[in-house]
C-alpha cells in the first residue's frame, strides 16, 4: 500500500487508519484487496466520498462485510443491463414479485428475516431456510459442511423457530476421477464426498434434528466446485415471534467464543476460489454442535418465557453484521463494547473480533428488566454470554475497545450501498440434433441406469443421517428393509394436531437451457411434494452460479430468474426465502449453473400420506402426464456421454391440473402408492417402486398411447418429461380415479402383480422381465 495511506492510530488495542481522501483509484483498489475487503472501485469511491476523515481498519472491514455479496446480495439487488433493456433488481423483479403478485394470505413473513415463515395450523408458523456452504466445504469438507448445517439451524433459531428437520443437497465430481485430472489445489471428489457427508451427518445427528430430505448429484463440472446446500425447517407459536428491539434494550451475545476462525469467510465466499486455498487457514471453521445444542435449548426457553425483544444469528460478518442489522432494522443505533466478548485466543485485533465468524453464536436484544432471567437460563445451559451494549436512537453503529472508539458509522449509509450494475449478454441455448440408435437390450439399459451414480440408491448416505430423531418423522426418506425412496418427507411437528409439514426439493442442473432448467426444478419440487400428499406449497430458491461479472453467467442467471417468476406464478406457489451463492469458480472452471428449489407444503392429516412402495397385487397402475422425446440432459443420455435432442419443458396449465386432481384422489383415500418420474424417467421410477416392495409391477407401454408420444421404447422409458407420476390406485376405485382425470393425460398402463419383478411390454409388443433381485443389485451396487 502506498506510503502514508495507512497509519497506526493506536498500539493497544492495535488499530490502523486509512486516509481515503488522499487515495487515487489504484490506491483504492489496492486497499480493498490488501485488506481483503473485496469491494469494487465504485464502492470504494462511494466510501471515499462519504467521509471527510480517515477510516479505521474496523470501519473499512465493516464495509467489506456489510457490502459483501453474501450479506447484501449485491447482484440480486443490483441492476442488470441487457441488449433489450435494464432489469432493476432480480430479486424485486422476479423472485419477490411472484410472491407479491400471488398475495397468499398464509405467507407470514417473507424475504425479511433470517428465514421465511408461513402459516401452519391456527396458532403456529413454519420457518424455512436453505443456505449454501460451498467454498468452506471445498477447503475443509467435514468442517465446511458441518458448519453449513450449524449455520442454517441458527437461521431458524434466529426467527425463534424450534428446528424440526434439516435437509441437504450435495453436488460432487465423479468419485472415480483420476488424480492427474485435478487442477492444483483441488481436493479429490472422494475426499470431499466423505468429509461432506460425514460433516452434514455429524452436525444434524449431534443436534438431534432429523435429516429428512435432500439429493446427491455427480458431475465432472462439480470437481472443482463442490456444491453443498443445507436447509433447516422449524416451528413456532405465532405469538412468540417477536422482532421489536427498542431503545434501551441490551444487545447480548451468547454461545461459542470468538476466535480467528472464519475471518473473512464472507468476502471469501464472494470471490473465486484461489489456487493456494491451503493457505486459507483462518477460513476454516471448526464445528462444535455441543454448544449449539445448548444454545437451542436456551433460545427456546427465552422465547417461551417472552424475555427478549429480538434475535438474530451471527453468520457472515460476525458481530459487525449482526449488530448493524439488528440496529438498522429497528431504526436504532448501538455502541458495542468489544471488551466483554469472550475470546478463544489472546492478541486479537479489534477488527478481528468485530468480523470473526466463529460458529455457534447468537445475538439477542433483551429489555434490561429481563436480563437476570435470561442470564439464569444461559448459565443453566452452561453457555458463555456477555452484554455488548445498549440500543440507542443515534442510528449509528459504534464500537469501542479498551476505551478507544474503533468504529463510528451511520447506519443509513452503511445499509444503502451503491447500487451495482451488471451486464448480461444473450447466449442462446440451441438444441442440437441427436443421433442415437435404439438399443435392443432394454433390460441391460435399465440395469445400467439403475447403477448410474446419479440414480442409484442413496441409502449409503441417507442412513448415516438420523431421520427419526424427535420421533416426528412420518414419511421417511428411505423406507423399509429395501430402503425404497420416497419423494418427500412428512413431519408431524405438533403433539395435538394431525397436520404435517411436507418437505421436498427439485434440482435439474443438467438441462442446458437455464430457463427450462429452472422451470423443471421448480416443477419437480412441487411434484415431489404432491406425490406424498402435500399441498399449499411454498418454495425457496438457492442459486449457485459462477462469477456474475461475466456477461454469459449473468445472462443465464437472468433467464433462470425469469423462469422462477413465470412458473411460481403459474403454479400459484410463492417464494418465501432463498439465497444466492455466486462466484463459484475454480481453476477447473465455473460451476454449472445450479438452482435448487425447496418445497414446503402441508398435509392436513399425516395418516393420509402416501409412500412409493407398491401395496397390493391386482391394483391398477396409472401413468399421469405426457411423455415426449425429451432426453437432452437426461440420466439416460448422460450415462452414454451423448448430448443433443430436446430438453424437458414444463406445461404449467396441464401439470397444475394433474397435481390438483392427484391431491383430491389422495384425500379421498384411493391412492395406494405414488412416485414421481424424474432422473431416469418411467423406467427408473417403475424399477424403484418394484425394488421397494413385496409385490411387482407389470406394465405395457402401448397402453400409454396418446400420452406416450414416441415410437421408441428407450425414449418412452427414459425420457425425463416433466409433470409425470406413476400411481397405484386401490382396486375397485378405477372409475373414481379416471373421472378425476377426465381431459387430462392419464392412462392405466399396468397393474401390481404378485411376482416381485418388473414386467415391461414394449411399444411393439416385446416383453421384458427384470427380477427384483437383479434390479436391487444394480441399484444398490451390490
Amino acid at each position: 500500500m502506498r506510503e502514508g495511506l495507512l497509519r497506526r492510530v493506536s498500539e493497544d488495542p492495535p488499530v490502523a487508519a486509512v486516509d481515503l481522501r488522499e487515495a487515487e483509484d489504484p490506491d483504492l483498489l489496492e486497499i480493498s484487496s490488501g485488506m481483503g475487503l473485496a469491494l469494487s472501485l465504485d464502492e470504494m469511491r462511494a466510501i471515499k466520498e462519504e467521509f471527510g476523515r480517515p477510516l479505521t481498519d474496523v470501519e473499512l472491514q465493516t464495509f467489506g462485510q456489510t457490502w459483501s455479496e453474501h450479506c447484501i446480495h449485491k447482484t440480486f439487488r443490483g441492476a442488470v443491463e441487457t441488449d433489450s433493456g435494464t432489469v432493476e433488481s432480480l430479486l424485486k423483479t422476479y423472485i419477490a414479485k411472484a410472491t407479491k403478485d400471488l398475495a397468499k394470505p398464509w405467507c407470514f413473513s417473507v424475504f425479511e428475516d433470517n428465514a421465511g415463515l408461513i402459516d401452519f395450523d391456527k396458532g403456529h408458523v413454519i420457518a424455512a431456510k436453505v443456505e449454501t456452504h460451498n467454498h468452506p466445504s471445498a477447503i475443509e469438507p467435514f468442517g465446511g459442511a458441518a458448519t453449513g448445517v450449524g449455520g442454517v439451524i441458527r437461521d431458524i433459531l434466529g426467527v425463534w423457530g424450534e428446528p424440526i428437520a434439516v435437509s441437504d443437497v450435495l453436488c460432487f465430481g465423479p468419485l472415480d476421477i483420476k488424480y492427474s485430472e485435478l487442477a492444483p489445489g483441488i481436493k479429490h471428489p472422494r475426499y470431499i464426498y466423505k468429509g461432506v457427508v460425514a460433516g452434514v451427518g455429524s452436525y444434524g445427528n449431534n443436534m438431534g434434528i432429523p435429516n429428512v430430505n435432500g439429493a446427491v448429484l455427480f458431475d465432472r463440472n462439480y470437481t472443482g466446485n463442490v456444491v453443498v446446500y443445507c436447509g433447516c425447517f422449524g416451528i413456532l407459536p405465532k405469538d412468540k415471534y417477536v422482532r421489536q428491539t427498542k431503545e434501551g434494550d441490551l444487545a447480548v451475545l451468547v454461545g461459542g467464543r470468538t476466535g480467528r476462525d472464519g475471518i473473512h469467510g464472507v468476502t471469501f465466499a464472494s470471490t473465486d476460489l484461489p489456487e493456494d486455498s491451503e493457505g486459507l487457514r483462518s477460513a476454516v471453521q471448526i464445528p462444535n454442535p455441543l454448544v449449539e445444542e445448548r444454545l437451542r435449548r436456551a433460545v427456546i426457553r427465552i422465547r417461551d418465557g417472552c424475555m427478549a425483544s429480538g434475535i438474530t444469528d451471527l453468520g457472515g460478518g460476525g458481530i459487525s453484521c449482526a449488530t448493524g442489522e439488528m440496529a438498522s432494522r429497528s431504526g436504532l443505533g448501538l455502541t458495542v463494547e468489544l471488551d466483554g466478548v469472550k475470546l478463544k485466543e489472546t492478541g486479537m485485533a479489534p477488527w478481528e473480533i468485530w468480523v470473526s465468524e466463529s460458529q455457534e453464536r447468537m445475538l439477542l436484544s433483551i429489555p434490561p428488566k429481563n436480563l437476570d432471567r435470561v442470564a439464569c437460563i444461559f448459565d443453566g445451559e452452561d453457555l458463555e454470554w456477555c452484554v455488548l451494549g445498549k440500543f440507542n436512537n443515534t442510528k449509528r453503529l459504534r464500537a469501542t475497545y479498551k476505551g478507544v472508539t474503533v468504529c463510528d458509522l451511520g447506519l443509513d449509509f452503511l445499509y444503502n450501498p451503491p447500487k451495482l450494475k451488471r451486464r448480461a449478454k444473450k447466449v442462446e441455448t440451441i438444441s442440437r440434433p441427436l443421433s442415437l440408435e435404439e438399443p435392443d437390450d432394454l433390460p441391460s439399459e435399465i440395469l445400467g441406469l439403475l447403477a448410474d451414480p446419479n440414480v442409484r440408491s442413496r441409502e449409503g448416505v441417507v442412513r448415516t443421517y438420523d431421520h427419526e430423531v424427535r420421533g416426528c418423522t412420518v414419511v421417511k426418506p428411505v423406507q423399509g428393509q429395501s430402503g425404497s425412496h420416497n419423494d418427500a418427507a412428512v413431519i408431524k411437528p405438533l403433539k395435538d394436531s394431525w397436520m404435517g409439514a411436507v418437505i421436498s426439493c427439485g434440482i435439474n442442473p443438467f438441462y442446458p437451457d437455464p430457463y427450462w432448467m429452472a422451470a423443471c426444478s421448480l416443477e419437480e419440487a412441487l411434484r415431489n411434494n404432491i406425490a406424498v400428499g402435500g399441498r399449499r406449497v411454498a418454495i425457496l430458491d438457492n442459486f449457485v452460479w459462477g462469477n456474475p461479472e461475466k456477461e454469459d453467467r449473468m445472462w443465464s442467471l437472468l433467464r433462470a430468474c425469469e423462469a422462477c417468476y413465470d412458473f411460481a406464478k403459474a403454479f400459484g406457489t410463492p417464494f418465501i426465502s432463498g439465497k444466492d451463492s455466486l462466484y463459484n469458480e475454480s481453476p477447473m472452471g465455473p460451476v454449472r449453473p445450479t438452482l435448487l428449489i425447496t418445497g414446503v407444503g402441508i398435509i392436513p392429516d399425516v395418516r393420509k400420506a402416501v409412500t412409493s412402495d407398491l401395496k397390493a397385487a391386482g391394483d391398477p397402475v396409472y401413468l399421469l402426464g405426457t411423455t415426449k422425446e425429451e432426453v437432452c440432459g437426461s440420466a439416460y443420455l448422460r450415462s452414454k456421454g451423448i448430448e443433443g435432442g430436446e430438453w424437458p419443458r414444463v406445461d404449467p396449465a396441464v401439470s397444475r391440473r394433474i397435481m390438483e386432481a392427484l391431491t383430491a384422489a389422495i384425500d379421498s383415500g384411493i391412492v395406494a402408492a405414488c412416485h414421481d418420474l424424474s432422473d431416469g424417467g418411467l423406467g427408473v421410477a417403475a424399477a424403484e417402486m418394484v425394488i421397494g416392495s413385496d409385490p411387482g409391477l407389470g406394465m405395457s407401454l402401448d397402453l400409454g398411447r396418446g400420452i406416450i408420444l414416441t415410437g421408441r421404447d428407450d425414449y418412452a422409458l427414459f425420457s425425463e418429461s416433466a409433470g409425470r407420476f406413476l400411481v397405484e390406485v386401490k382396486a375397485g376405485h378405477e372409475g373414481d380415479f379416471e373421472a378425476a382425470f377426465t381431459g387430462l393425460p392419464a392412462r392405466r398402463i399396468g397393474e401390481v402383480q404378485k411376482e416381485g419383478a418388473l414386467r415391461i411390454t414394449g411399444l411393439r409388443g416385446k416383453e421384458h422381465i427384470l427380477e427384483r433381485a437383479e434390479l436391487a443389485r444394480a441399484w444398490r451396487g451390490g
Binding site: 445427528n205 438431534g208 420421533g471
Partner: protein, 265 residues
C-alpha cells in the same frame, strides 16, 4: 398397588442429550408424569421422588472421548450415592441408545457387582460398518425377567428404529456373554424378519454386536439398557412402512411394561 397418578419418571439430560422430549411424550401418553431435568442441577435426594429414571439418547458431551463415557463418569462423581440407593431399592433405570452407553460406562450394566462395577465390564464399540446407522430393526424378546420386557416376552418380535454410530455390544469375555445369557439378562436380540436371531448378518444385526445383543439388564432386572429407540416407534403414525400405522407401534410395549410394573408396586 400404586396409583399411577402418584408416580413420576425422571428423564435426565446433559449438554448434547436430545431424545428427552420424545421419551416424555411416550411415558405421558401412558399416564406416567415425567420431568426432564438437567443433571447439573439435580438436587441431592431429589431422585427418591421418582419410580423411573431414564437416560435418554443423544450425543451427550458431543460423543467426545467415547460415546457415553464422559456422562458415565459424571454420573459417578455427581450422583453415585443417590443412584446406588435408587437401584438397590429396586426402582427402574432405563438407558436408551446414548443412555445405554452411559450405563455401561458408569459400570451399572451389565451389573454383576452391586449398583456399580469399579471399571466398565462391557463396551458399545464402533459399529462394524464404521458408519452411523439409522434403520428399523427386528428385535426378538428373549424372555428376560426384567419388568421392561413384561409386555415383550420370549419370541415376541418388535419393530423399532436404531440410530447410532457406536452400538456394537462387547462384553469383557466370552464367559461374560455366556453368563448374561444364562442369567437371563439378554433382553432383546437383533433378529431377521422371520424372527430367527440375526446371527451377525448385516443389516439385521446393524452394528456387529456379539450374540446379536440389543438390550441387557442387571441381575435384579431393574436396570436395563438398549440401543434401539422404542420411543420412536410408540405411535402408529411413526411406523408408516414398518408396521401398523394406525393405533400404536411396537415400542409402546416396553413403556407399557414399565407402567405395569409401577402399578403393581
Amino acid at each position: 398397588m400404586m396409583d399411577l397418578r402418584k408416580a413420576k419418571a425422571c428423564i435426565l439430560r446433559v449438554g448434547g442429550t436430545n431424545c428427552d422430549a420424545e421419551v416424555k411424550a411416550a411415558l405421558e401418553d401412558l399416564g406416567l408424569r415425567s420431568d426432564i431435568l438437567h443433571m447439573d442441577w439435580l438436587e441431592k435426594g431429589k431422585l427418591s421422588e421418582y419410580q423411573l429414571l431414564v437416560f435418554p439418547g443423544g450425543f451427550s458431551y458431543g460423543d467426545y472421548v467415547r460415546a457415553g463415557a464422559v456422562w458415565g463418569k459424571k454420573v459417578l462423581t455427581k450422583m453415585r450415592r443417590d443412584l446406588e440407593r435408587f437401584v438397590e431399592e429396586g426402582r427402574l433405570v432405563m438407558g436408551i441408545c446414548n443412555g445405554f452407553q452411559v450405563l455401561v460406562e458408569a459400570g451399572m450394566l451389565p451389573g454383576d457387582e452391586g449398583a456399580f462395577s469399579p471399571t466398565p465390564k462391557a463396551v458399545l464399540a464402533n459399529n462394524s460398518s464404521a458408519r452411523y446407522e439409522c434403520r428399523w430393526v427386528f428385535l426378538r424378546g428373549e424372555g428376560s425377567h426384567t419388568p421392561f420386557a413384561r409386555r415383550a416376552g420370549k419370541g415376541e418380535i418388535l419393530r423399532v428404529p436404531i440410530g447410532h454410530g457406536e452400538g456394537r455390544f462387547l462384553a469383557e469375555s466370552d464367559k461374560a456373554v455366556q453368563d448374561l445369557i444364562r442369567s437371563n439378562r439378554v433382553v432383546f436380540r437383533y433378529a431377521k424378519p422371520s424372527g430367527e436371531p440375526a446371527e451377525g448378518t448385516y443389516p439385521f444385526n446393524p452394528n456387529g454386536s456379539v450374540y446379536d445383543i440389543a438390550a441387557i439388564c442387571n441381575r435384579a432386572g431393574n436396570v436395563m439398557g438398549m440401543m434401539p429407540h422404542p420411543e420412536r416407534a410408540f405411535f402408529g403414525w411413526q411406523t408408516i412402512g414398518y408396521g401398523n400405522s394406525q393405533g400404536y407401534g411396537d415400542g409402546r410395549k416396553i413403556f407399557e411394561g414399565i407402567v405395569d410394573h409401577i402399578r403393581s408396586l
